[in-house]
Amino acid sequence: MEFFSYFVTHSDLIADSIIRHFLLFLISMAFAIVVGIFLSIVITREGHEKVGQVILSITGASQAVPSVAVIALVFLFIGIGMKPALVALVIYSLVPIVFNATSGILSVDPGVLEAAKGMGLTKSQRLWHIKIPLAMPVIMSGIRSSATINIGTVTVAAIIGAGGLGDIIYTGLKLNRPEMIFIGAGLAAIIAILVDTVLMYVERKVTPKGLA
């Protein structure tokens, strides 16, 4: 009963929280994807493959760092509010994207690249026509796991004042109001599942024919 009454009385707040939650996710993901793929392209340039290998081990290891730790560190250095939360989200989401994009690009068959070069494809043609499409499935799965982590972390980021559905949960915890916790957690879960479903579809769409 309380569950429904809270829903009705606070529908504005809930709607705002959902929008804010989703915006935090979208903005930070957009940044992470653009920056992450750009970084991966830079560190996997021909002749610099060693750099890529190093970044690969660093990002591989840092995937083990818990999100709360990153958020706490950002709080220490930047402070509280929506912007620091976004910074924390971008940093944390970058890691799987860079890891996957780098390993995807580095694992493109050297024979294919050599043939491409020998046939007279320029550096950028090799990157955009060969490397990126062939690494696409791996890049996309990096984006998907990054998104899953990101949407979970958005909820946690409420502790440094990000807002969103996490706020409703924390308030519920503080005031000991289970209906708020249910609503916050339930909606956050639904958004996470929706995001994952959409990305699964996108992943299938961008996998080039012939690779399946």
Binding site: V112, A115, K117, M119, G210, L211
Partner: protein, 371 residues
């Protein structure tokens, strides 16, 4: 024409290619052979500037490759590597169309050319929409060759293109490669590990050891006069027999000792003609001249009504015009046939080759050597 002039390439302390001088005539196949690490691939890759030498010059038709833009240079040279390097996310059509597209040909011309080169490597149009992962190793190799030929380059560089193919398919590929070259007459450098392949395919063979050119000559000259022990060992003890593999079935074709019949000729009429001419073999040829089968009077079988049976076979054993005598001989032994029909690449019947011609050839080689 490709000229290597005093080419030296070092990787750190290691000298990969040491003062290489070699001139490859237009329209010929030069086989580059030698032990692993002797510098074959490095020599090859300097032609399309995937590797730049430390010293020396390489000229194609008198023009230094170092005066050309590497990308333009590469687009004018066909390149086939052992791993083939087909683009897995491109269909066979798109793989072959890669260079024509980079050259901005119009789509109609590209389409015609793709089907033309597919046909050249004996793949039919249904392959165009397939992806590399749907092809066998041999088919992939053919597509690789078709892709290299697409923009009609004058020079082809091939680095162990048949290295990963099983022996049977390798023979087939070598055959069609020779027939294709007969048609297109490219200047080809072909790296191989396999001395038989070198003898079979090459106009000339370049033998390398530890970065240096040991001997560079026509195949028959190398077989007859190996420069030193290293070359002798590379050729193997049976180099006299190997010389037989230089001779092609097409030069021993006989047009007698059999009759040809159309696909619908009546069996009795065939038997009658064979008995009149005192022959046992009749080849079935369709209206386009292609070998479709054979009839033979089976004298090993029991007589029926006082006559030997006339047997029909729809898929007779055969050799191609460019099949070597060694290979022809081994097929005769394998099939237990003294006479095999010879066909051209498109399946047209050209005549027969018999065991006696081969023996005659072996005998002559023996006497010539003794003399």
């Amino acid at each position: 024409m490709i000229e290597y002039r005093n080419i030296t390439k070092r990787f750190g302390e290691k000298i990969a290619v040491n003062n290489l001088n070699m001139t490859l005539e237009k329209g010929t196949i030069t086989m580059l052979i030698g032990p692993s690490g002797c510098g074959k691939t490095t020599s090859l890759k300097m032609v399309n500037r995937l590797v730049d030498p430390d010293e020396g010059d390489i000229l194609i038709n008198g023009e230094s490759v170092f005066d050309l833009d590497p990308v333009k240079l590469r687009r004018s040279i066909g390149y086939v590597i052992q791993e083939i390097g087909l683009f897995p996310h491109y269909s066979v059509f798109d793989n072959i169309a890669t260079l024509p597209r980079l050259h901005n040909w119009d789509e109609k011309k590209i389409k015609d050319r793709v089907y033309e080169v597919l046909d050249m490597v004996t793949l039919d149009e249904s392959y165009a929409d397939k992806y590399p992962s749907q092809l066998s190793g041999g088919e992939r190799q053919r597509v690789g060759l078709a892709r290299a030929l697409a923009a009609d380059p004058e020079v082809l560089l091939m680095d162990e293109p048949f290295g990963a193919i099983d022996p049977i398919n390798r023979l087939i590929l070598q055959q069609s490669f020779l027939e294709i070259q007969e048609e297109i007459k490219k200047t080809i450098i072909f790296v191989t590990h396999d001395i038989n392949e070198a003898i079979q395919l090459g106009d000339k063979i370049a033998i390398m050891n530890q970065g240096s050119l040991v001997q560079f000559d026509t195949v028959s000259e190398i077989l007859a006069n190996p420069e030193n022990e290293f070359v002798e060992n590379l050729l193997g003890h049976d180099r006299n027999l190997k010389a037989l593999s230089l001779k092609k079935a097409r030069d021993y074709i006989k047009k007698e000792g059999y009759i040809t019949v159309g696909p619908d000729v009546d069996k009795e009429a065939i038997r009658k003609e064979l008995e009149e001419k005192d022959l046992v073999l009749a080849y079935i040829i369709d209206s386009r001249g292609r070998l479709k089968g054979r009839y033979y009077i089976d004298k090993a079988a029991r007589k029926v009504d006082g006559r030997y049976p006339l047997v029909r076979e729809t898929r007779p054993y055969h050799v191609e015009r460019t099949t070597s005598l060694t290979e022809t001989l081994s097929r005769m032994l394998e099939y237990g046939e003294k006479v095999l029909p010879v066909v051209s690449r498109n399946g047209r019947f050209r005549g027969v080759i018999d065991l006696d011609s081969i023996f005659e050839e072996v005998k002559q080689a023996g006497t010539a050597k003794g003399a």
